[in-house]
């Protein structure tokens, strides 16, 4: 089998790509996708340690993370649709009405 550290490094790389996506992309939909990528990278760590320690709790946490991610996507996309109705855009640079 492959060492645990390989999976951890893969997960770290995927998480970093998600962070860079949140920082860089101006399309709010792609920012959401980067968030999903980060959740997925953390799920990979959970599954890796579940396999290493032979406990099922890690896999069940992933199950709960998936449920929360689904709820988050539903509410987030609804928010985006509502924002798009007001601003006619999903550019995050234009969602700056709340800055002080």
């Amino acid at each position: 089998m492959v060492p645990v550290s390989f999976y951890l490094v893969l997960s770290a790389i995927l998480f970093t790509l998600g962070v860079v996506g949140v920082l860089l992309k101006s399309n709010a939909l792609v920012v959401f996708m980067s968030l999903e990528l980060m959740l997925n990278a953390s799920n990979l760590v959970f599954i890796t340690f579940a396999a290493y320690y032979q406990v099922l709790s890690g896999q069940l946490i992933v199950f709960f993370v998936m449920i929360v991610a689904a709820a988050e996507v539903a509410v987030g996309l609804a928010l985006l649709v509502a924002i798009f109705r007001n601003k006619k855009s999903v550019d995050v640079d234009q969602m700056s009405s709340l800055k002080g």
């Binding site: 089998m1 290493y52 099922l56 069940l60 992933v62 449920i67 929360v68 539903a74 996309l77």
Partner: protein, 189 residues
């Protein structure tokens, strides 16, 4: 090292390469629809990695929930809003160097932290037969994690109601600008 002991490394290498390349392609591509499709590929690849880690049920629900349901929702909203046409503005381009430096620093930090803590863990033990079968997962879920399971139903209900309320037409305060002024009027009579 003979060839049969190298096979897991080869499989992992190919899967990791596809996962990283599709994640990077998601960030690089201009069209939001291509981004969504690359993300589907990434989710499917990570699902296969879950299979190699002995989590078949989670792998299949990953493909069904993430690559299926969530990404269909994404594609639907992208096509509904016409989100694929938005071009990156000039200000964001100048963030590229900044974000790259921050990303590299973050990656090194995360990698070092993980390696110092967990670098000595070498090989996942061979899984016992029946480990992580749907039956054992279900028994664990409905005995040890029964309360969190019930709470997730509340979360899903709240998300359902929230999504319906947020996207509802008809109501003026949602439809026409400035929804944040109305609660003020109600709380300061």
């Amino acid at each position: 090292m003979n060839f049969t002991s190298m096979i897991p490394y080869l499989v992992f290498g190919v899967l990791a390469l596809v996962a990283i390349a599709s994640a990077a392609a998601m960030l690089i591509s201009r069209d939001a629809i291509y981004s969504a499709l690359f993300l589907v590929l990434n989710f499917a690849t990570v699902g296969v990695i879950y299979l190699t880690l002995g989590a078949p049920f989670i792998a299949l629900s990953q493909i069904a929930v993430y690559a299926g349901a969530i990404m269909v929702l994404f594609l639907f909203v992208i096509m509904l809003l016409g989100g694929e046409r938005f071009k990156p503005s000039a200000a964001r381009r100048s963030h590229l160097v900044f974000a790259a430096v921050l990303g590299i620093v973050f990656l090194v930090e995360l990698g070092l932290g993980l390696m110092i803590r967990y670098g000595d863990m070498t090989v996942p033990a061979a899984q016992a037969p029946g480990y992580a079968s749907p039956t054992s997962l279900g028994v664990e879920l409905f005995s040890k994690y029964a309360l969190p399971f019930e709470i997730t139903s509340l979360i899903l209900l709240a998300a359902l109601i929230g999504a319906i309320v947020l996207t509802r037409e008809g109501k003026k305060e949602i439809n026409s600008g400035e929804p944040e002024t109305l609660p003020n009027k109600e709380t300061n009579p």
